[in-house]
């Protein structure tokens, strides 16, 4: 039994979890920024998918994977800008617009794949991002597994999460964002440009989700397949809530979800006499349980999902 546990719960599982957490944590941080500014972003799922597709597209035509990453961020930001236009400018219902964005992204990427590559299932292989080893950290005992032959996007994610936390809680912009999501009229009356803050946050969330998508198609694998995001956007939303609208919290929650996922995969590999479908349910089950608990204690931004009334009328 102990051996079995050791086989499952070890640093390698954790390293796998960290990799799998990367797109989740990035998108969760996107969710944190968007919702801290008062906009519910259900479109994360579609934004991840868009990012994954654009990443492969960029790499396919240029053979430069980094250009693919850049294109993924631009595409995510661009789609998010469209979402922002509808929800902020035209005050469309945020939930409806978010779901619409997801459907648009799924349809568009599937169709484009057909048109460009004549395939319904997946794209051709492209150049993925090369794995790197960090010189010094890669030699430390224990933690070296995290820094040897690691995807650069995992490391970038860690830096982005920390920077995001600083941005949100230590800078003037962060304070203004938090004020906007809680009380847009108050922000307005002290001369904060509420609209600009909201546009920035929503577009930024798209850039982050797009980056997360690029990890799926260029960091983890090196092709795109239909509906590649597979619900990660919704998991990211859950991680964001569980993480209390805080990039660090969202990262921790993502790690927890991914860890369960990694354990689940190991379990499947062990050929236990349990149906695989049941084991595969584990991460989702955990998401539900954790969320049920977290929602009870959580405190969303006060004006989340409400249309801003600032300015004239």
């Amino acid at each position: 039994m102990n051996e079995l546990l050791a086989l499952i719960f070890n640093l390698n599982t954790l390293a796998a979890a960290l990799r799998m957490a990367t797109p989740l944590a990035l998108a969760a941080m996107g969710g944190a920024f968007s919702e801290r500014a008062g906009i519910i972003n259900l479109g994360l799922e579609g934004l991840i998918l868009t990012g994954a597709f654009a990443g492969v597209l960029g790499s396919y035509y240029s053979s430069l994977p980094w250009l693919g990453v850049l294109l993924a961020m631009i595409a995510g930001g661009g789609f998010a800008a469209l979402f922002a236009l509808f929800t902020i400018r035209f005050k469309a219902d945020q939930v409806v617009a978010g779901v619409g964005l997801n459907m648009l992204a799924l349809g568009l990427t599937t169709w484009l794949m057909q048109v460009l590559w004549g395939s319904r299932g997946s794209s051709p292989n492209v150049n993925g991002l090369p794995e790197i080893t960090i010189p010094l950290l890669g030699r430390l005992p224990f933690v070296k597994v995290f820094f040897i032959e690691q995807s650069p996007l995992v490391l970038i994610m860690l830096v982005v999460i920390i920077a995001g936390w600083y941005l949100l809680f230590k800078t003037p912009l962060g304070l203004r964002i938090r004020m906007t999501g809680d009380h847009p009229t108050a922000a307005d009356t002290v001369g904060i440009n509420v609209r600009a803050i909201q546009y920035f946050c929503v577009i930024f969330s798209g850039v982050l989700a797009g980056l997360g998508g690029a990890y799926l198609s260029l960091g983890h694998l090196n092709w795109f397949s239909v509906n590649m995001s597979a619900g990660r956007g919704y998991m990211a939303l859950a991680a964001n809530i569980f993480g209390q609208w805080n990039p660090l919290g969202g990262f921790a929650a993502s790690l927890l979800f991914s860890f369960t996922d990694a354990v689940q995969m190991r379990l499947q590999g062990l050929n236990l006499s349990i149906a695989n479908e049941l084991i595969q349910m584990l991460p989702y089950l955990l998401t539900i349980v954790v969320l049920a608990g977290a929602v009870l204690r959580s405190r969303p931004p006060e004006a989340l999902g409400k249309q801003n009334q600032g300015g004239d009328e």
């Binding site: 600083y166 230590k170 800078t171 003037p172 304070l175 203004r176 938090r178 004020m179 809680d182 009380h183 009229t185 108050a186 922000a187 307005d188 009356t189 002290v190 001369g191 904060i192 405190r299 006060e302 300015g311 004239d312 009328e313």
Partner: protein
Amino acid sequence: MNVVELKNISKSFGNSLANDSIDLAVKRGEIHCLLGENGAGKTTLMKILFGLYSQDQGSILINGAEVEIKSPRQAIELGLGMIHQHFMLVGRLTVTENIIAGREPRRGILIDYAEGMRQVKELTATYQLSVNPGARVEDISIGEQQRVEILKALYRQAEILILDEPTAVLTPQETGELFAVLKKLKESGKTIIFITHKLKETMAISDRVTILRDGKKVATIATSATSPTELARLMVGREVILRVKKAAAMVGKTVLQADHLTYYHKKNNRQLEQLSFVIKAGEILGVAGVEGNGQQELEELITGLSRNSQGKIFFKGKDISSWSIRERRYAGIGHIPSDRLKRGLIPDFNLEKNLILGSEWQQPYARKGFLDYKVIRENSKVIIERFRIKTSGSQALVQDLSGGNQQKVIIGRELRREPELIVAAQPTRGVDVGAIEYIHKLLLKMREEGKGVLLISAELDELLSLSDRLIVLYEGRIVASGNTVDFTEAELGLLMAGQGRGGVKNGPTE
């Protein structure tokens, strides 16, 4: 020298004219009251000055120079600061964060919190606005929150402060403290525009007063040259009886008895402790207290909106503690809720539907499961006429009525059921002087007809002039009770703040 001059300002919302060619001149260093009933256009005018609304016509001069103010940011740059009727504060942020937001001291790219804290402390010391800069705003009192609002303006170097009905949320003691602060600000050369509909405050604090009525300017006068009666007349446009007269009470049997009501509220831990009182037929029992000391819980318990209390409630001798809201209504308890738009009305329903809420499934309004609109319309016509509700008709949406008329809709609906007890919570809140006069008359009429009235109010004047007996709530307990005539206003103020000597004044409460 005029620091602010508004010339010929007009502003309409849809086809209602909120400001109609208003002129206003405010001198440097004065406290200038803007007096008017609810809906007179005071807030609108000041929001135009502060860049929150844009005027349809007219011009604004600051220090003699014509300016265009398109946003609060511009207003702030011109030295204006506005303390809104509904505080513009974020509860989960600290006092300092709320004050510096939008104009943060920086160190590199980060906020310099230490410097922000220092500046806030300096301001609190200069103007004696004591408040803890590190506290979360949701944890401090309403009075302190208001000081944070003032500090926000001062931090932005405001020279002209606009306060929109600042005393509405304060206890009499806090009002006194606010007035002291305002005088201090005036001494240091600031100009203050003080919006209110209260005559007493206008007389107490202002140098000059401008009266608005129905969106028009009526007059600007020096406060020393006027009287409350004259101000009331200018404000309402006719002679007003400031205090109602009432006949001696003809007390009958006990209608309601509360017996050691105790209620724990888990969320913010507000509670009622061991409340006992009776209301007899033909009397008004007033409940005095600063908001948030258990009034809302009491209202909810008596009407059945919440039921998990300890202790018992008897209505006409029957224990109704576990009865549902509907059972209580049908037994004869009427309710004028404190939050009329949330609990008393459905704002986007029309008048006739609002007037049958709670009876909609019953004869004669419903027959065999279908609504009978002919009867419903007839009913609304009767109530509109009887209660003089000013409206375009029974099809008008309730949200388009003024506060006073909305209140009349509720009162009309409740009285139509001929209740024997009416729970009237803040019945004149946000209602203009004319309607207040009318609502007071109705409550007194109920009393004369031998009904019981539980009057929960934050207005001392109202409590003192209407109720026969009073109980004072502080932190969920009755700290004093007795006949109304035995309380003075000053004494009540102290009791409400948890200070004065309480106890039972001669006269039965139990």
